[in-house]
């Protein structure tokens, strides 16, 4: 049962990623593409964070900082029944970084979109392509 659920989770994450990926490559609207990118990336974040999840674990923040003394420092995941199990902090760290990267990319992309709209009057990729092509044609005619 649990395994089946876990597999379902993995696959759901993949479906989410692919939904974002599809928006990125199939939609002509530039804003949509950026939204797609963020969905795609969020999918990747679930994947990473899912890797660090430990059954019965809690967030990797030591709960009683002053109580545990040296004799009981062994709080390895699943090592001793009484101790608290923590999830793996590393994927969280990686994903914090990745989220920042994601929002940075998004901001830059959106700034580009604003400028593109200013210059082209459209944020649809096919329109922009058409305008550019027309421009090149005119260039050739001029010669």
């Amino acid at each position: 049962m649990v395994e089946w659920l876990a597999l379902y989770n993995d696959w759901a994450v993949i479906v989410i990623m692919m939904a974002g990926f599809y928006i990125m490559i199939a939609r002509y609207n530039l804003v949509k593409k950026i939204i797609g990118l963020s969905i795609f990336q969020t999918g990747i974040f679930y994947f990473y964070v899912g890797l660090g999840k430990v059954e019965n674990g809690t967030a990797p923040i030591f709960l009683e900082p002053k109580v545990i003394d040296d004799s009981t420092t062994n709080i390895a995941a699943g090592a001793v029944e009484q101790t608290i199990i923590y999830s793996n902090p590393l994927p969280h760290v990686l994903i914090l970084t990745a989220i920042v990267v994601g929002v940075a990319t998004m901001a830059l992309g959106l700034a580009l979109i604003v400028r593109i709209y200013e210059k082209y009057g459209s944020i649809e990729e096919d329109d922009i392509q058409a305008i550019d092509n027309k421009f090149i044609c005119q260039l050739d005619d001029k010669k």
Binding site: A59, I61, P65, L96, V100, A107, L110, A111, V114, Y117, E118, K119, Y120, G121, I131, K134, F135, Q138, L139, K142
Partner: protein, 162 residues
């Protein structure tokens, strides 16, 4: 996204905002400096901190916010944050450790780590807050587009492009 003369129309919201802002600020500082003990850290705090100004901008008009936090200050702040982070590493280099080895910052390695993390997180917080506020400024400034939209074929551009 901003409506002019908001002040007259949304006085209630403004009053509430005035109450909210210090609280959010407090929360931002909490997230920043309590990140060692609970969830949070420089990045999250920076975003929350920025949201104070974004809120201010949304409610009181971005022009006013600009007077509180000028673009030039932002530019310097975002640079300083990064410099603070990278500079901490350089200090540890100068003190004889590897880059970003906070243990050498103080005589006690563990408190060195504490201080190092504190400073570094502060750097992250400053940069993130400054960048986020300037993003808000950039995306909300009034831009007079109508004259700027190039027509599909711009004769001038034709010439310049060859």
């Amino acid at each position: 996204m901003l409506k002019r003369n908001v002040q007259q129309r949304h006085r209630v919201v403004q009053v509430i905002t005035k109450f909210l802002i210090p609280m959010i600020l407090l929360f931002a500082f909490y997230v920043q400096f309590h990140g060692d003990f609970g969830a949070g850290g420089g990045f999250q705090a920076g975003v929350v901190f920025a949201s104070v100004f974004i809120l201010h901008g949304l409610i009181f008009g971005e022009a006013r916010t600009r007077l509180v936090l000028t673009p030039n200050t932002l530019r310097v702040l975002m640079s300083l944050g990064l410099l603070l982070y990278a500079g901490t590493g350089v200090v540890s280099l100068l003190l004889g450790g590897n880059y970003l080895n906070y243990s050498v910052l103080l005589s006690n390695p563990v408190s060195g780590q504490h201080w190092g993390i504190f400073v570094v997180e502060l750097g992250v917080g400053i940069t993130v807050a400054a960048v986020m506020v300037s993003l808000f400024y950039c995306f909300s400034s009034k831009r007079n587009f109508v004259g700027h939209i190039s027509h599909p074929i711009d004769e001038n551009e034709l010439n310049s492009d060859g």
